[in-house]
């Protein structure tokens, strides 16, 4: 029977500058036992929908119309008190970013028991018992009941929240981005838990996420939301095999897929329409590669298109054809168009980006060398030699935390953190290397070391023959002009008080470009390179006026404006919506190729690295446990940790079952030096030797190195007994 059925629900937010129709006439049904995945990029209204259902909308939000029927009763008519009773008894919700959903000053256990006693009417004893059971259920140690949230790792918190959500045996569970911002392995395990619980408790689940691969893992049906509307509804299988809406198409094409890697990912450029005055026509038309004149006028309704599927697209009947076309990435490629382009001095609105012009841009010839009047930059782009541009030899970085007088007074005891532990690798011009690993594995620290934001404690980093350690001011300045860093969070990476022009000229000013005009030329040239055109439109903007994708391009531009020959990209797209990620990656990749730029990508997402990098290095507790050519590392992983990582990556395809993940949770804090293998504690195939002997580095013919005993002389040392999840 239908548990939840929403009938053209509309929700508005009143803001200083107009009413935002966050949710606009959404209808959907949820059958008992169904597991619905609600997909959509940020700002598409999925979270609002959730808040509307449980009626915890912020003050400025109000439900403009529609019904929400839960087990037959209309929640909107329900008095507040009864509604409250319903929450978590009937409808349990796992809020977004449940990292911070636990009261920091209360023991997790008592939060759980309080919930049980206040809302569930349990007795003290019963509550305690139940709490313990729940912790078991979600795979948490019962002694953790007495711990405070800050003593939990991200994954544990998430489990705890799930436990609380299930405490009152609800019939409907709505999870909002349950695994975002978690490490792959944890992510995988949480999804496991969810899956099991679904089976055990026969839950009805509505899972809200931007990550179709998560949906592929957990859900049996899918709804795609775009700009406050539902644009496609389908069962999982057909949806993934044959999406029926251009947006869905785009999403799938945009997703890197370890199982079936593609050479070019598509990016749905542009950004959702302004929901304060939504376009009269199809809301996706702006970004749709198959857009027709009609799309701009006619607003397509969500219509059934056979076998229980529905889509809101004028051309849904020609879908099969379009699906084939959509395989060509260049179709999706287009120039970034500035928001409110009317600011441009010509006052003409931008051309609605005719496809032809765009195709041209993709492989538009770029100036091979820099025009004569620009001062000779230390490197000449394009030239490629085999001498390693960058070389690391046994580099280590240790931090002391706490200690010292201040520390003593603050009450911290001193500790040493071995962030990076004796790593070595080298990088040629034009080569790209990926650093992967769970958070805390030291990859970002390595990044900082490479650009000399911090200095190594041991070992030497040689850049183009010069040691980073002993650099005088001049050579340091030169170094600064040749090595650049691209940041994770584009919203922080630019000075909010500077116009883009200022941000982009800063490096030039610092490096002594006196001539204003030359600087301007360089800036414009660079903006062109990163597909921000026409550049002039962007120069006057402040960061907050741009979309995340555009910002990240600006960040890239700033990195390139000095024509560096080495670029470190730290999680370049993790903060961006899937739809635009590929755009950034493609541009970076293209430029790297064209400019012979050596690149280091830092990311927790293997599929992404596989897509962008020639080689991949896997880091664990500050050490490189495996390094080699991408395809080798991905398809023929040697180190157990690598295997685990790969196994954990969700595949955006319900048909492909992930291999079982045989690994313990929880990274030990990198505050101790290991005699043996740092991974031994968690390793599924750990042997006695692993605890006592440092593992050897085994390299095969195609320079694929793994640091593991399984392949060294200790390969026969007895296995440790240890049960695995």
């Amino acid at each position: 029977m239908t548990i939840l059925s929403i009938r053209d629900l509309s929700v508005n937010y009143a803001t200083q500058d107009g009413t935002v129709q966050a949710v606009d006439g959404v209808s959907l049904d949820l059958e008992e036992g169904q597991r619905l995945g609600l997909i959509g990029e940020s700002g598409c209204g999925k979270t609002t929908l959730l808040k509307a259902i449980v009626q915890v909308l912020p003050r400025n939000g109000r439900i403009a119309g529609g019904k929400i029927l839960f087990k037959g009763m209309d929640l909107l008519q329900l008095p507040a008190a009864e509604m409250r009773q319903l929450r978590w008894r009937e409808i349990a919700t796992i809020p977004q970013a449940s990292m911070d959903s636990l009261n920091p000053v209360q023991r997790v256990g008592s939060q759980l028991t309080k919930l049980l006693r206040v809302r569930g009417g349990y007795s003290k004893k019963a509550a305690l018992k139940r709490a313990a059971d729940l912790f078991d259920l979600v795979g948490l140690d019962t002694e953790r009941l007495t711990h405070y949230p800050h003593e939990f790792s991200g994954g544990m918190k998430q489990r705890a929240v799930i436990a609380m959500a299930l405490a009152l045996e609800p019939s409907l569970l709505i999870a909002d981005e349950p695994v975002t911002a978690l490490d792959v392995i944890v992510q995988h395990q949480i999804l496991e838990v969810l899956r099991e619980l679904e089976q055990e408790l026969n839950l009805t689940v509505m899972l809200i996420t931007h990550d179709i691969s998560v949906v592929a893992q957990v859900c049996d049906s899918v709804s795609v939301m775009y700009a406050g509307r539902i644009v496609e509804q389908a069962a999982a299988e057909p949806f993934f095999s044959s999406p029926a809406h251009p947006y869905s198409l785009g999403l799938q094409q945009a997703f890197p897929n370890l199982a079936r890697p593609r050479d070019v990912l598509v990016s749905i450029e542009g950004y959702p329409p302004d929901l304060r005055e939504p376009p009269s026509g199809c809301r996706f038309a702006e970004r749709c590669p198959f857009v027709q004149e009609a799309c701009h006028d006619i607003d397509p309704k969500l219509e059934a298109i056979g076998d229980g599927r529905a889509a809101a697209c004028l051309r849904s009947n020609e879908m099969d054809v379009l699906r084939v076309q959509s395989e060509d990435p260049s179709l999706w490629q287009r120039v970034e168009v500035a928001q409110g382009l009317s600011l441009a001095e010509d006052g003409q609105p931008p051309p609605k980006s005719p496809p032809i012009a765009m195709k041209g841009d993709l492989d538009a010839p770029l100036p091979a060398t820099i025009s004569a009047e620009t001062p000779p930059s230390p490197s000449q782009w394009g030239e490629v030699d085999d001498a390693p541009l960058l070389e690391l030899q046994n580099v280590s970085k240790r931090f002391k935390i706490g200690g010292g007088l201040a520390g003593l007074l603050r009450g911290d005891k001193e500790q040493t953190v071995y962030a990076v532990n004796n790593i070595s690798f080298s990088l040629k011009r034009g080569e790209s290397l990926g650093l992967a690993g769970e958070s805390g594995c030291g990859k970002s620290t390595t990044g900082k070391l490479l650009v000399k934001l911090i200095d190594a404690s041991d070992g030497e980093i040689i850049f183009d023959g010069a040691d980073l350690a002993g650099m005088d001011d001049d050579s340091l300045l030169t170094f600064r002009s040749r090595v650049q860093l691209m940041f994770q969070n584009p919203f922080e990476a630019l000075n909010p008080r500077f116009t883009l022009y200022r941000s982009l000229t800063e490096p030039l000013i610092i490096h002594g470009w006196k001539d204003e005009n030359k600087r301007l030329d360089r800036v414009i040239e660079t903006l062109d390179r990163v597909n921000l055109r026409p550049a002039e439109v962007f120069l006057d903007k402040y960061p907050h006026q741009l979309s995340g994708g555009q910002l990240q391009r600006v960040v890239l531009a700033r990195a390139l404006v000095l024509h560096p020959d080495f670029l470190v990209a730290d999680e370049p797209v993790s903060m961006l919506d899937v739809s635009v990620r590929a755009g950034i990656l493609n541009t970076t990749r293209r430029l790297a190729r064209e400019l012979g730029l050596a690149t280091v990508y830092i990311s927790h997402d293997l599929s992404l690295l596989q897509y962008t990098c020639d080689r991949i290095a896997i880091m664990y507790l500050g050490e490189i446990v495996e390094i080699g050519p991408s395809d080798q590392v991905i398809n023929n992983p040697q180190h157990p940790y690598t295997k685990a990582l790969i196994a954990a990556v969700p595949v955006p395809d319900p048909t492909i079952e992930n291999p079982p993940l045989r690994i313990q949770e929880g990274i030990p804090r990198p505050t101790e030096q290991f005699i043996g293998c740092p991974f031994a504690q968690r390793c599924p195939d750990a042997m006695e030797a692993c605890l006592t002997v440092r593992p050897p580095q085994i390299t095969d013919e195609n320079e694929h190195t793994a640091q593991c005993h399984l392949y060294g002389e200790h390969r026969d040392s007895p296995k440790l007994e240890r049960q695995l999840p």
């Binding site: 940041f487 500077f498 116009t499 200022r502 030329d521 040239e525 700033r558």
Partner: protein
């Protein structure tokens, strides 16, 4: 071809004239504007200050009488304890041999309270603003240094702040004032010596945050010097904070000056509202029920102090928008 065209267009004329640098100062200015546009109360506060400032500047012109010299009647005697003309019984003044034109009456030795009130605004604003400036500047510099350089610089400065927090404020000023010749500047000095602590701490923590932000590392990666980073990247973002604490400091300064003068540690030659209250208190205005003497100075102090608060809160609302909830 296309972008070449644009490049050429870029060179023609004065390109930079067309592209705003978004300089720190201008940003600052805009923030300040924003404060007063967004928050009517802050604007009100500014207005109050403006009015008092005007009064202070024009004091000699506005004030009908000399604030210090007692007024004399026809017999040359002092016009003591005259009620405000709107309170006094008519005819009384003729009997006493003067015409009562005193808006707020006279003191027990015949000084014109209204004129004193007007002149009082001078020292109030003088103390208020100079102290505020001192506090804000010192606090900001210390906060910047401690926050940006960290390490022992930080340790030392912050311990100093702890000490400053341990020193009782008003008593300290009393001692200072007693040791040096009584003067409103003692208050300013003492405040400069102690009150930087609040500003310093907050600014430090703010610097710590900003310093970690990517755009700062970006600047460093592209080779910006420490000074450049401090002044071009960090300072502009925290200056509004200094204003915030500055405007609170104005309030504190005025209040403190009042308290200190009230305790009789101020220079009797410079009229201040606190001094007036002290005078009233010691001349037993309370028993005289001379509210026309007691109330006005208090109100003026309250008003100016509130003005400081309003402006401060205005900055808070802009700087910490989460408070912007009404």
């Amino acid at each position: 071809m296309q972008q070449d065209a644009m490049a050429r267009e870029g060179q023609s004329g004065k390109p930079t004239a067309r592209f705003r640098q978004g300089s720190a100062i201008r940003q600052l200015w805009e923030t300040n504007l924003e404060v007063f546009q967004r928050d009517k109360m802050a604007l009100f506060g500014l207005l109050i200050f403006a009015v008092f400032a005007l009064v202070a500047i024009l004091a000699p012109q506005i004030a009908p009488n000399d604030p210090l010299n007692p007024l004399k009647n026809n017999n040359g005697d002092w016009i003591k304890d005259a009620m405000p003309y709107w309170l006094a019984e008519p005819g009384e003044d003729e009997a006493e041999g003067y015409t009562n034109t005193f808006l707020l009456g006279t003191t027990n030795i015949g000084r014109d309270i209204y004129s004193q009130l007007i002149h009082g605004s001078r020292s109030a604003l003088l103390v208020g603003f100079s102290a505020a400036a001192a506090v804000a500047v010192i606090g900001t510099v210390i906060g910047l240094l401690a926050g940006y350089y960290g390490g022992w610089v930080d340790t030392i400065l912050m311990r100093a702040a702890d000490v400053a927090f341990g020193i009782p404020f008003i008593p300290f000023i009393i001692v200072i004032s007693a040791f040096f010749d009584p003067s409103i500047w003692n208050v300013v000095i003492a405040m400069a010596l102690l009150l930087w602590r609040d500003t310093g701490r907050v600014i430090r923590s703010q610097v710590l945050v900003i310093k970690e932000q990517a755009f700062v590392s970006a600047a460093r990666v592209s080779g910006a010097s420490d000074l450049r980073i401090i002044f071009v990247y960090i300072a502009p973002s925290i200056l509004p904070l200094s204003f915030l604490y500055g405007s609170f400091a104005i309030a504190w300064a005025i209040l403190t000056e009042a308290s200190v003068s009230f305790l009789g540690f101020s220079d009797p030659e410079t009229i201040s509202w606190g001094y007036m209250l002290q005078d009233a208190f010691n001349s037993l205005a309370l028993s005289r029920e001379a509210f026309y003497w007691i109330v006005p100075p208090g109100l003026c102090i309250m008003l100016t102090v509130m003005a400081g608060f309003f402006i401060g809160r205005g900055y808070e609302e802009v700087l910490f928008p989460r408070l912007r909830r009404m």
